[in-house]
Symmetry: C2
Subunit: 330 residues, 2 copies
């Protein structure tokens, strides 16, 4: 009665899947499926481990038509850097959606999450940013700052990129890395307001608890994707900006109203537009998107289990008949 389970490590996964247009398309399918209303996506299971300054989240989603569903476990232990370990870790488990049997274990230490998160940024940019983006800006200087810009560049091949972070040295390193990766001009800027004013596409990638983008910085023809807030208490965008924008789009309203920018706007009493659109509805055309190059649009991404199921299924389709990884009969 035993069956084969494929096990891939982070190093093996990095050889199989990267951030390319195919991955962006796979994640776009997840949002389209979410819009259909047939996805089953339970609330995130979340547990605090206060003694270790840690937390763990579990996400899952069943997407009709997909052969499997993923369960993703994401621990975050914020004292790890003192031990020389990364704060974020975790794995994805892919199950057959027909039998519930484990098909694959992806010991990715968060790599697949990084990829699917950046790909969601590209999906938002593809459907919400102005058709032509000459200058993009990224706020934050970490792994997602880099990946978000690589992903955005796939769908909006901007020729100039600005980087802002609280730490000027880190902003310089991030700019240098991105210039090498993208082969374009990348400059750190001293002032986030300057970055926003010069960009048509801005992505915020910080764990900020006070807004890093002010409402008075908004200008015609701007799209902002805020992907940093994924917890109560985080907030990157001035709540007034959500009220002022021509369009606000959530990855999943039931999440952004608790974990995202929408929470702060509602809490401030500044949200008066009813139930906002979700990214999937904009993709399918069921909800209006950007109406002109002058619109100001904001996308609020908290990360969905549907993206995990989509990326894990994509990886499994690529490796199921290959020799990649280890096979255990269990």
């Amino acid at each position: 009665m035993s069956h084969d389970i494929k096990i891939l490590t982070e190093a093996e996964l990095r050889q199989v899947v990267g951030l390319d247009i195919e991955t962006v398309d796979v994640i776009e399918q997840a949002f389209t499926a979410l819009a259909s209303g047939e996805v089953v996506m339970p609330p995130i299971l979340s547990m605090d481990l206060p003694a270790a300054n840690g937390e763990v989240d579990v996400k899952t989603a069943y997407i009709p038509g997909f052969d499997g569903f993923a369960i993703k476990v994401s621990p975050g232990f914020f004292d790890n850097p003192k031990l020389g370990l990364p704060s974020l870790n975790g794995l994805m488990i892919l199950f057959s959606a027909k039998t519930g049997l484990v098909q694959a274990l992806f010991l990715d230490n968060g790599y697949l999450t990084d990829i699917r998160t950046a790909a969601a940024g590209a999906v938002a940019a593809r459907h919400l940013a102005p058709e032509v983006v000459e200058t993009a800006g990224v706020i934050g200087t970490g792994v997602q700052a880099r990946l978000q810009m690589k992903a955005a560049h796939l769908v909006r091949p901007f020729s100039k990129l600005l980087v802002w972070g609280r730490d000027a040295a880190k902003a310089q390193t991030c700019a240098d890395d991105l210039a090498a990766d993208l082969g374009i001009e990348v400059q750190p800027v001293a002032d986030a307001s300057e970055l926003v004013s010069l960009s048509q596409l801005v992505v915020t990638t910080t764990p900020a608890r006070e807004p890093v983008v002010k409402a008075e910085w908004l200008h015609k023809g701007l799209h902002i994707t805020a992907m940093g807030s994924d917890q109560e208490g985080k907030n990157e965008i001035d709540p007034r900006a959500l009220a002022l924008a021509d369009l606000y789009v959530a990855d999943r309203v039931s999440q952004t109203e608790i974990l995202g920018e929408l929470r702060s706007a509602k809490q401030a009493g500044l949200w008066a537009h009813g139930i906002p659109a979700e990214l999937g509805n904009v993709i399918t055309g069921d909800a209006p998107g950007r109406r002109s190059d002058e619109d100001i649009t904001i996308a609020d991404l908290t990360g969905t289990g549907a993206q995990d199921t989509a990326i894990a299924s994509h990886v499994f389709a690529m490796i199921r008949d290959s020799k990649a990884g280890t096979v255990i009969s269990a």
Copy 2:
């Protein structure tokens, strides 16, 4: 930055851990910890996959003082038998409670759950059944019927055992298996009321949605452990029996009032005893247990994440320095 992860299959786990008094003691510790109020145990994550007649549950718990915490994923796909596959499957993942790094993957197909569930039955019998049990009875004829009786026999070495199930042939097979296992007299009976009237300890192990034990069958000196109900809609014990018993004890009230026998009693308007005791409080002496050999007691077990963390930690302690299983550096 990679670290070693131990991976054990069901076959390997069966060689490492079984249902013995050590396992019962480990599970008792989990209940004692639950009683301390310091355990962090989020609500169960549950997802339906209606297209496949499937469901998946995720349980976890952090127990202060334990080096690790388990996340358990339990898929149940009820059309699997038509495909020659078991309905229940799943795995446990053990994480470091200090760093969140994955320590071990137990590809147990539900084996560790079976063991920790039966061990909880033994803990309930140890603390709630009359000191002397001559005759025990089990209602149901599946895997848990067998394991619950093996576990109960460790703490109450009864000399006679009765088995009842809806299918007489299955009851006979279960009785034969248990007679061989325990080396005592085991008889199938035609009537569940006869089984209850002749037993001092009864365990119900069915997925019943209508009570299989009637209130009028209760008699002095009886202990019943109901372990079958773990979902809304399941019900093994007549709600009136909970009202009539001298003592009702939950594994976890926040679960039994939604998933266990307590739910049915409350729904029927028959529960008037306030907040019931939990098994851990009876173990520590913070809540009264059985007062005399004449008391009628009922334990309601729905299964807790704390048990999963306890059994997974126990297994890891036994294998971490052994050559058991496969090691992957991830």
